[in-house]
Amino acid sequence: MIGGCSEESRYSVLSFFFEGVPKPGQKPQWQQVAHMPRRPPPAKATPTPAPVAVVAEKYPFGWLPALLKTMPHDAAGYPDMVAAFKEKKIDPLPGVEQDHVMPAAKKIADMDIVLIPKGKTKVTFSHAIHTTLVTCKSCHQTPFKMTTGEKISMDDCAMCHEKVAFPIKGECVRCHPAMKKKPPKEPPKEKLLDGRIKLARAKSSDANLSGIPPASFPHLPHRVTFRCYACHSTIFPMKEEGVKPITMQEISSGKFCGVCHNGKIAFSGDDLGSCSRCHS
């Protein structure tokens, strides 16, 4: 019956009951079916890369305690890094060895700045030793502006000199030579001697369930091996704010610790048995 109707009538009747009815003048389309392959074609075999010569680690077991014994110590018992550097007991490298080529050391600003000219608290700041170890940006413009007459607080110096450099409490004479030497009030703290930094783990980390402890970073052996600017602040910012979480995936891909700990310069995180060297 519908076959005898006009195309328009046929369309209006059929489209009332059915979906996808071809419009008048439009032929029904038989759409082909095309499925995608289940997998990509197998990749062509790549030539086997040449074996990488693994550099033997420079430092034998127990080298750090042996070094600490030979280093000069301050009155409080802390290793005197500046004296050790001057006496050539240590020779921190200016940077990381990339492909066994040593980067050039940066220029040292060799000048002394008189901060307090006279009196018991007179201070002359040695620019040379600081520029040997840290970059200009580490101190300028925060906390120290590069202007004359600037007021300087002890707290500004304490940003480093309580954490990684020698402490200011009880060691007044090292900056204020006119002051009398005082005996230390308490023996040096083991943590500060060792310089070990316990890294906090994110509460949401899956690693919390694995039974593997958070990593702890031995700062002192790195400090006697490298100058501060080898790592700060290009690899690790020194300020807590803005610090990004460090993950094993990023380390394996050559970021953070992985810049050196890649199996070529130093042991790799992927090496068997290496977990407990940091996670212990």
């Binding site: 059929l14 009951f17 059915f18 979906e19 996808g20 009815v21 038989w30 759409q31 082909q32 079916v33 095309a34 499925h35 995608m36 392959p37 289940r38 997998r39 990509p40 074609p41 197998p42 990749a43 075999a45 790549t46 369930l209 694995s210 039974g211 593997i212 402890p213 068997l272 048995g273 290496s274 977990c275 407990s276 212990s280």
Partner: protein, 695 residues
């Protein structure tokens, strides 16, 4: 030989347990103290996260069963003491080299009961451990090693003793797709495994010992290979099952192999071939069984709305000299002329030989249409129709035997509640049923008894098994195996015409559906017309559901008329009404109230007429307190009744909770059950309290 064979050893374990509980609860700074702080965790072998706890439990039950003037009482007093400790994610040298978890548990219980005033005592010990290790877990080739052991010893009065041992150990090697084969043999993965399982039981009572020892050695592999347009999966498993003990020993070897292959091909990969071949063989103790299954299917998508499917199916079952070979062929055309209309035409043929009984075959053609259409207010109309014409030729003599057909006991036993056997015209006197809760082999199967554990109800050509509430052998949900013989039906040629149709409308919160189906068999030549039958069934169904912010409500009603007729079984009719209600109320103060009801009424309208009803109402109030603390108050009433049989009525109410204070937790449970089945009435109050502490 039992691991714990002397009283001295068992006593020493109890001393260790009591000492552990005392140390944990009295030492250190209260519940903040942890024994585990003593455990070293550095070095080549590092321990992972510790879990552990001690649990003490008390259970009291006073069950009274009265039948007329006869009263049976069971008074139970039971104490449980459990200690468990495990370490997760320990590792050797490096987690990627070897990691694992291991645990140990010690459980003790003492039970002092009174059966009709007579004192009974029993106590038990359970010692178990498990170790699971993963070798090279992050590598493409991983190994798994595992072992577990549970040993249970129960002592009863007069020297009675039950000892049971369950243990297993084994390993599995896995090769993943990213292995060294990834370039030469890509997309390949495989598992190879071997394990041994042992289950021993020894029961001594009145000087006599009954032992059951079962050992299963299992090995096999599973390999998968992926191609650009295909997949291949090959599996093989061998099981060597040996069984010794007080009953005659037996030993079986079962082997199973299967190959599954699928391939996309054609100019636009619009053709798909699926192939499954599976072969199982079981031999031992004079029994040889084999089962071959082959399924070859080709589907061609000619266009987006037109496809054809061709399928060949072979099953070959050979059991104790009886061979059943079935070859069937199916051709299906599916055409969708419009987006809301789908038509399917199916042609089917089958040829089956049942040795030595004879053979049977059938050819059939079936047409099916489904149509949907949108309605105002977001509704839709559903229409469907199906017609099938089948011609069967059967030349089989004598009854056919079905061995060990698998079924599951219902969750609630009551009149009219059961399951229907698969075959028609079953010879009811040949039915034999086993409860296989303890296992499917030899003496582990428990033979059940007609009239004591179950009854048989014949519903026209079908047969229904109803479990009796008074059965001591069958528990709700038990696996069952039923063997029987059935009359094979006509010897000759007959046709079956089936028609069905359904229509429905659905809107957001309401749907209404009506369905009709009928089937009629007619003899064309031969004898046995009395075994032909016709059926028709009419169904109407209404569903309502609505969600508000605090309330979720659902309701359903079903009405069904069923009629079937045959010369051999006569006329069988019933009408069925089924209603369901559900209400969930969730106010904003961590409380949920759920009310659930189901009622089903069945009237069997042909003599002997009978009426069956099954009513089930449940209410539960959940109150969530602080994190991890909650309690639930629940009540349930259920009644099943049928003319000619006593009514089964159950009432159950109780409260259960979970409360935690620091590392100490409490699990109280109080319940009361009142059950009546005809003149038998049971009253059963039950209290259980468990107190534990995490380490």
């Amino acid at each position: 030989m039992p691991f714990l064979s002397t009283t001295a050893i068992r006593t020493s374990f109890r001393l260790v347990l009591v000492a552990s509980i005392l140390i944990i609860f009295t030492s250190g700074n209260g519940y903040g103290f942890s024994l585990l702080s003593w455990v070293p965790s550095e070095g080549d072998f590092a321990l992972g996260e510790w879990q552990g706890g001690v649990i003490g439990g008390y259970e009291w039950e006073d069950q009274q069963t009265t039948t007329g003037n006869n009263t049976t009482t069971v008074l139970r007093n039971r104490f449980d003491e459990d200690v468990f400790l495990r370490n997760n994610a320990f590792y050797l040298i490096d987690p990627r080299l070897l990691s694992g978890s291991a645990g140990v548990n010690l459980d003790f219980y003492q039970e002092n009961d009174k059966y009709n005033g007579a004192n009974k005592h029993q106590d038990g010990t359970l010692i178990g451990f498990d170790v699971n290790t993963t070798i090279l877990g992050q590598m493409p080739y991983t190994g798994l090693l595992f072992a577990h052991r549970n040993e249970n010893n129960t002592s009863t009065d007069f020297g009675g003793q039950t000892y049971s041992l369950n243990q297993s150990f084994g390993g599995m090697a896995t090769l993943r797709q990213d292995s060294f084969l990834r370039e030469s043999f890509p997309y390949f993965s495989a598992d190879v495994y071997a394990r041994q399982e042992e289950a021993d039981q020894s029961t001594t009572q009145f000087g006599q010992t009954f032992t059951v020892n079962e050992t299963r050695d299992i090995g096999g592999f599973d390999a998968e290979k992926g191609f650009q347009t295909a997949d291949l999966d090959v599996t093989y498993q061998i099981v060597d099952d040996s069984y010794t003990g007080s009953t005659p020993a037996y030993s079986f070897i079962t082997q199973w192999a299967s190959c599954n292959y699928s391939l996309d091909f054609g100019p636009t990969l619009n053709r798909r071939w699926d192939s499954l071949i599976s072969y199982l063989t079981r031999s031992g103790n004079g029994v040889d069984e084999s089962f071959l299954y082959a399924d070859e299917k080709l589907r061609i998508d000619h266009f987006k709305n037109l496809s054809t499917t061709y399928e060949y199916l072979l099953t070959d079952t050979d059991t104790q000299g009886q061979q059943d070979v079935d070859n069937s062929l199916t051709l299906q055309v599916q055409y969708r002329p419009f987006r809301n209309l789908t038509n399917t035409l199916t042609m089917q043929g089958s040829y089956e030989t049942v040795s030595p009984a004879g053979h049977q075959d059938f050819v059939a053609v079936e047409g099916n249409s489904d149509y949907t259409h949108p309605l105002p207010w977001g509704g839709s109309l559903l229409l469907g129709g199906d017609g099938r014409y089948e011609i069967d030729q059967a030349h089989i003599s004598g009854p056919v035997t079905v061995l060990d057909e698998k079924h599951t006991a219902p969750a609630f036993f009551g009149p009219g509640i059961g399951f229907t056997l698969s075959a028609s015209f079953i010879v009811t006197s040949t039915i034999v049923m086993y409860d296989t809760r303890l296992g499917t082999g030899g003496a582990q199967r428990v033979l059940t008894q007609l009239g004591v554990d179950y009854i048989i109800q014949t519903e026209a050509q079908l047969t229904k098994i109803v479990i009796l509430a008074t059965s001591l052998k069958i528990l709700p949900g038990d696996p069952l195996e039923v063997s029987y013989s059935y009359v094979v039906g006509p010897d000759g040629r007959y046709s079956t015409t089936s028609l069905s149709g359904d229509a429905g409308v659905t809107f957001g919160w309401i749907s209404l559906l009506g369905a009709y189906q009928q089937s009629k068999q007619s003899m064309q030549s031969g004898v046995g017309a009395q075994y032909l039958y016709s059926t028709h069934q009419e169904t109407a169904e209404l569903d309502l559901h609505k969600d508000w912010e605090w309330v979720d409500a659902r309701g359903s009603a079903l009405y069904e008329i069923f009629h079937t007729q045959s010369q051999a079984a006569g006329v069988f009719d019933y009408t069925l009404q089924s209603y369901g209600e559900y209400l969930s109320f969730r106010p904003g103060w961590n409380t949920t109230l759920n009310l659930d009801g189901n009622e089903m009424y069945t009237d069997y309208t042909v003599a002997p007429t009978r009426h069956n009803s099954d009513l089930d109402f449940e209410a539960a109030l959940d109150r969530f307190l602080t994190s991890g603390n909650y309690f639930t108050v629940f009540a349930r009433a259920r009644q099943a009744s049928e003319t000619d049989y006593p009514t089964e009525t159950d009432y159950e109410a109780g409260v259960r909770g979970n409360f935690r204070y620091g590392k100490i937790f409490f699990w109280p449970w109080l319940s009361w059950i009142n059950r009546s089945y005809g003149p038998t009435k049971t009253n059963d109050p039950h209290i259980m309290l468990k107190i534990g502490r995490d380490l």
